[in-house]
Point group: C2
Chain length 271, copies 2
């Protein structure tokens, strides 16, 4: 099996893109007409977005919450959506999973083996026991939540141990945990200064998954400048709502393509 | 709808029990004969355990990881297992979910509305934004990870901010977040001193979900003494593997009943 980083490097080069599109199928935001005109509007929606953007991205990110909110049907849509994504594009399953070792094993199995994700997101609050079961999958990548993009990220992540904020301690742990060379870090675009610091701690070789541009308001220039490594790579910059829900009429997928294309170019301008 | 705490108080009194059984359907540990003799061995297993222990417990806890590891089929088993649990017993869905507000909403919807859980577990690393969507369900309970039961809990939870370890800061936040009177705390039985401190911080009115006795080695006496409130209540003490996988022959459910009954009595001895 090809390593995650090789796959990331190939698709980043081939599509010339650091853009990741988040396929967050929010019922209230999916074009209404799809519910009248198709049997499986969610899957149809995802397929349309993928078909019209697959040459513009390095990755698609599927946040599990949106699929689980649809119950059993949602899990089927998740699986079918993944099957529809071209094999050379990175699939990130964003579940922020975490549990004690015995149980984290099962999550890792589910995400990597059953759903065949290339990468996942993992919450570090339980320490290494809860992360290791994911890292055992040497060809995959585990993006560990380091600095999240939301306003209350500060509640715990900014607390200072001696003079070091927790998020930097997490970053240092991620560096230590990277013995299989398959750790990544989730860092919110809404915190560009922190992004810069974390890139400094983690060096050139650890990929970042960066949510928070678009609707959450992260600045593209700062995100790219502070998030990429010295080769202008190893950053996967995600936008979900700003791209996929840009329009709700029949030509929605074309509008999404336009948004994706503009964002891809804007990102590349600063690489 | 009845409030979580009323439901907990009723079942604790009616069954005279603080015991919670974790229905962790681990493929390698479920009695082999069930795979030859029944069409749906996982569901059959859960039904047998529930039928033989339902008068001994206050709650059943289903850890999502074990169900998700079976793919689509696992989610069906999850739903059918929940349907089989008598309506007066607490159902805890242990998913340790967490995400930014917009997305955490979807997890809350999935767990409380689609799967109809009475309570869930939530990871606090993202701060209040990621917890609030769960707390909006006023009749339900959200158990927030405070001190987890695993060895590497110390990696972050023991770090000291000034002189206060993070897990105590989380406990204080849980106290503040309890404005709807529907917060709980997850505290590992493997850390009895911490359990005592957290009960002191959180007072009499916040329920604790306490994993870690049984296979993980937590001491029952210390767990009960330090975990209950001053009325000998508000503690839900979980055992999974030690009860449900006590035996693997045809009479396994009876052996599980025996283990559950003994543990229930041992817990009550110290209340």
């Amino acid at each position: 099996m090809k390593d995650f980083k090789d796959k990331l490097e190939n698709i980043t080069d081939n599509n010339g893109s650091l853009l990741c599109i988040g396929l967050d199928i929010d019922t209230e935001k999916i074009p209404k007409f799809l519910f009248d005109s198709t049997k499986n509007p969610y899957l149809e929606f995802n397929r349309s977005i993928i078909n019209s953007t697959k040459d513009l991205v390095c990755a698609y990110k599927l946040n599990m919450a949106f699929y689980e909110a649809l119950g059993l049907k949602g899990i089927e849509i998740l699986k079918k959506t993944i099957n529809h994504i071209p094999k050379d594009i990175i699939v990130i399953l964003d579940g922020k999973r975490n549990d004690i070792g015995n149980t984290a094993n099962k999550y890792a199995k589910s995400l990597f083996e059953i759903f065949n994700a290339d990468a996942v997101t993992v919450n570090p609050y339980l320490g290494i026991d809860g992360v290791e079961p994911f890292l055992k999958y040497k060809n995959k990548c585990s993006f560990i939540l380091c600095r999240t993009s939301n306003p209350s990220a500060k509640d715990f992540q900014d607390l200072k141990v001696l003079k070091t904020p927790i998020y930097q301690i997490v970053a240092k742990k991620i560096y230590d945990w990277n013995t299989n060379n398959n750790c990544g870090a989730v860092v919110g675009a809404t915190y560009p200064e922190e992004l810069k610091i974390i890139r400094k701690i983690l060096g050139d070789d650890i990929p970042f998954l960066i949510p928070g541009i678009g609707k959450q308001g992260g600045d593209v220039k700062k995100t790219v400048k502070n998030g990429i490594n010295s080769q202008g790579k190893m950053a996967i910059i995600n936008s979900s709502r700003g791209i996929i829900f840009a329009d709700n009429k029949e030509g929605f997928a074309e509008i999404s393509r336009e948004k994706a294309s503009n964002l891809k170019d804007e990102i590349n301008k600063f690489r």
